[in-house]
């Protein structure tokens, strides 16, 4: 085994251990955890803002934001009255379970129905790092082109939920929706695919119903 492979395996093993700790804690607290992953600018923060506007009175939830630099995303969420914490990774291209453990441990958020973790904007690196989540949610905006699932197969295979975002822009971009749906179904036959626009609200009911359903299932678990 090369030194590089050895170090990588050690890092991933340490992450797995921290993720197990988080998963145990979230199970005990019956907190649903979604790990949101996408390219930069696919609309992760916008989806969380739209979710906050709809579910805030109904569910107790919080957001952990991951970015290389700036606290902008946590500020956007906090402005809506939702507890939010920003993790700055420095240069790292993904969040890891220890960072989430440390960030979560420092909060006094009380009992939560749901925790949304918005990962660093990147379709590749976050894929390998378990954060103790119930599901990875991958977002793909219609402006990114229909070739992306097959070009980034790992995340579209591991994400239980695929959200096609910015569907209000469909009339203005060449985007073969059927092609994307076919690719996602090939990579993750049992996955769930949603289509929505955080801006117009189209498709948000289905997303909120999914969140509600998963929160209820976790409570009953």
């Amino acid at each position: 085994m090369s030194a590089t492979t050895e170090v990588r395996q050690r890092i991933l093993a340490a992450n797995e251990e921290a993720a197990r700790g988080l998963r145990t804690r979230f199970a005990r607290d019956r907190t649903l955890v979604f790990n949101l992953i996408s390219s930069p600018g696919s609309g992760k923060t916008a989806l969380l803002e739209a979710t906050a506007a709809r579910l805030q009175g109904e569910l107790r939830f919080a957001v952990i934001e991951g970015d290389i630099a700036t606290e902008r995303d946590a500020q956007r969420i906090a402005r809506l009255g939702v507890p939010a914490h920003q993790i700055l990774t420095g240069g790292a291209c993904h969040l890891d379970a220890r960072q989430v453990q440390e960030a979560f441990g420092r909060q006094d958020w009380g009992a939560l129905d749901a925790l949304f973790i918005e990962n660093v904007g990147n379709l590749i690196c976050p894929t390998s790092y378990d954060l103790g989540e119930d599901a990875k949610v991958v977002l793909l905006s219609v402006t990114e082109g229909e070739d992306k699932p097959f070009k980034y197969p790992a995340i579209f295979t591991r994400a239980e939920i695929t959200v096609i975002t910015k569907i209000d822009l469909l009339p203005h971009v060449p985007f073969q929706l059927d092609e994307v749906l076919g690719q996602v179904r090939t990579l993750r036959p049992d996955g769930r695919i949603l289509q929505l626009s955080s801006r117009t609200g189209e498709g948000m009911d289905e997303w909120c119903a999914l969140v509600r359903g998963r929160v209820a299932a976790k409570r009953g678990a």
Copy 2:
């Protein structure tokens, strides 16, 4: 120094060595080399297609494509009659100089005025890997939001050229162009910023003039 840091430094040192070899070769051949970096779906391949349509009879150029999976991008370029080679990284989130060295060494492309290297779709990892290029070119599409330069400062600092893409979509998205221009100028005061749409052709003249000028400068160097 931790084992992780040590391995990382060793990897980067090996990359620097390979990049120096490439740079010497490209200097000898007087081939202009641009390393195109952006999020997935910002329009790197579309820009190269639009460039091919305009400059193909005039300049001898080739394209090296980097992707995790699929040969789609090289096929798109080759369809236009431009020599193209696809590097598949497996899972890696960036190209490295050795991959480019190996790919370039296997080609029989003859004398080239320009070589465009389209990196893996990622605003983070490709930043640290010199590929022997004359300039890094970062692309940002108007659909990605105006907060990106400050959120991904390393690439916007290191890229000598910033290309704002998909400006035909400006009427349909909330994108504060002035804010982006300000951020880029803060990070890279001497950088060049272009705005274009590969689809409508707006701004392509300026891009082609820049390529032509840089090719002429390298020939005369």
